[in-house]
Each structure stands twice: as C-alpha cells, then as structure tokens.
Point group: C2
Chain length 202, copies 2
C-alpha cells in the first residue's frame, strides 16, 4: 500500500503510547516523532499545524492527513487496518469497551492525576476520589503504579481491587505492551519532580 504513517508523541504520555500500542498490535510500521510537550515554545511547528485545536500529542499522520485525540485515532486505526481487532466484534461489547475507555479518560485519569499532584494536605481526599474511580473501573490503567510509589498513596492493590490488579499484571506482561511502555525510572523521575514542585513552599 505504501502507507506513510507517523506518530507525534511524547515518551511518557499514556495517550501517545496507546496509539503506538495499537499500531504495534496491528503490525503497522510507523515513524515516531518525539515532541517536547513541557515547554510550549518547544512544540514543533508541525504539531501545531496538525493539531491546531488542542496543540497536543498524540497526532497520527496517515498519508499526509492528521488526526488528533487518542480515542479518535484508535477508532481510525481499527477501521483502516483490519488485522488483530482492538475492539470486540459484537456491537454491544464494543459499546461497553467505548464506555470504559471514556470513563478512564474522563473520570479515572483526572482523579489519579489529582491524587498524585495535590498538595500533601489535600492528597488523602483526592486519593479517595481516585480509589472510587478505580473501584468502578473494570478496565485497566497505565502508569498509576509509579504514582503510588511516589506519593505513598496506595491506589491499586491485589487485596482491594483483585480483578483490576490481575488485569494490569497481565496487560504489562504482554510482549507488545512491554515494547510500548516508557522506562519506569524515567517516569518515576518526572513524577517525583512534579510532586516536589506541588509541595514546594509558594
């Protein structure tokens, strides 16, 4: 087909990692372009051109056409490359997968981020919110274990959430997933720095 596929991403972003993971699962070769998302001025002119609305990674570029928003990109990948389906075939099961993906992005990830990056005195309350989300979640999250290591707030444990724990254990031991995970110590470094900043005297 001579497809030209590029991903504009950031090494530590679960959103760009999920796009890469989908392409890996489908066996679609792609070129990866790393973006410096921490400093606005460092974002490449191409990223701003391809995602002028949100100015964020990930962006998938397919034969010159850009798509933004990771869940939108996943749907596009699923429809464009049929091998190794990501979503279940049955429309109802598919709806459930979409519902949980949306729940993860809209509710869980913001709650977990808040639990990790709240000032110390607000952290327990935020962690409680995050725990409630995780209790509801029947799907999996990526990157949270690093956060609990840093903040000391245990969000995910085999005792409290056995099914979710098992799911993530299986998820991260899959060889394709392993390939797309960012190095743990690098993630840990960034998260620790951010937590320290949150708690620094103003």
């Amino acid at each position: 087909m001579g497809d030209e596929v590029k991903v504009f991403g950031f090494w530590g972003s679960p959103f760009s990692r999920r796009v890469e993971l989908a392409l890996l699962l489908k066996g679609v070769p792609y070129e990866y372009v790393e973006e410096d998302i921490f400093v606005v001025e460092n974002k490449s002119p191409l990223l701003l051109q391809y995602n002028p609305v949100h100015k964020k990674v990930p962006v998938l570029l397919h034969n010159g056409k850009p798509i933004a928003e990771s869940l939108v990109i996943l749907e596009y990948i699923e429809e464009t490359w049929k091998a190794n389906p990501i979503l279940p075939e049955d429309p109802y099961d598919k709806a459930m997968a979409r519902f949980w993906a949306k729940f993860l992005d809209d509710k869980c990830l913001p709650a977990i981020r808040k639990a990790a990056f709240s000032p110390e005195n607000e952290r327990e309350e935020a962690a409680e919110e995050a725990r409630a989300c995780l209790k509801t979640l029947e799907s999996a999250l990526n990157g949270k274990r690093v956060m609990q290591e840093v903040t000391g707030e245990e969000l995910l444990s085999v005792e409290k959430l056995p099914e979710l724990f098992k799911w993530t254990e299986e998820f991260v031991s899959c060889s394709v997933v392993k390939q797309s995970l960012p190095p743990k110590d690098k993630v840990l470094g960034v998260v620790k720095a951010r937590v320290a900043q949150t708690n620094a005297p103003k």
Copy 2:
C-alpha cells in the same frame, strides 16, 4: 426483528435529544421514559440500575441491555441499524466527525454552560472562552440561542460566525430535528430560573 428499544431521557437535555434524533433518523421505533434529573431522589430505580456509574440520562435500552453515554449510544445505533448512516463512510471523514463531536462535548458545551451560568461579573470572561470555542467549532450546537437570549451575551451571530450560523439554521429547519427539539419557551423558563439563582444574593 421484534426489537425492544427504550430511551431514558430528559426533555431539555441535548444529550438525550441527540439519541432520540438518531433513532428518528434511522426510523427505529422506541419507547421514551422521562426522568426527573433535577432531584436526585426522583431518579427512577431503573435509571440507577442501568447507569450505575454516572446515574445520568440518556440510557438506551436495547432488548434489555443498557448503554450509557450519548456518543457511545450513537455509535451503537449506527452499527446496529444501518439505514440512513449518521457518520460519513470514509474512515478519515469519520475521524473528523468524531473529533468535532468530542470537541463539542469536552470544550464547547462546558464553556457555553459556564458563560450562561456564571455570576454576572464573571460572565464576560466566560463568554469570551465560549466564543473562542465556537470560533473553532465547525459543527453545530443546540440550545445556545436560548442561553444568549437570557444572558444577553451574544455568542452566535451571522456576522461573527457565518458558517456556524448557517449550519444551525439548516439544522433546526430539518423536519426530523424539529421533531426532536424541546419547546423553546420551556427551555427558556428553566435557563432563566437558573441564571436568576446564580445571581441571587448568597
């Protein structure tokens, strides 16, 4: 097929209206169940059972199986009833439609709601945000004209946003859309009451 289709909705919710609109467009007969969403205790046990995560309308019940989240429901309707496609056929066009639907829900609607329901002294700033969203939007919004009538903040005008204005004019003059729009004076009453409440002395 003997399909049993029910929609749990609220007359003034654009989210449940879009589900009804999709069913109308597809020609799928359904039973409508009105929920009182203003008072938590008035929500029906069925709604809580069918959408335990968000406890919100709309819920689509298809042959006893519940689906929540309006955009997830629309995808399900599109896949289940093939007549009169809602989404474009081309995968890239489809991705664009999904991108703008997500933008509408995640950015525009919250900004417009904020512009309508901010206390008077914060309203201009909130309206500015909403205007920026609408400028970006290439799709359409429903219900905003009522809000600008109440608050006096003009968000959508033929001079400032000619394409969007034209789109919404066409949208609301479509016969199926007309059928699914809530009565304007009823919407106006609810919005006015809420604006008054926002500005009432604490």
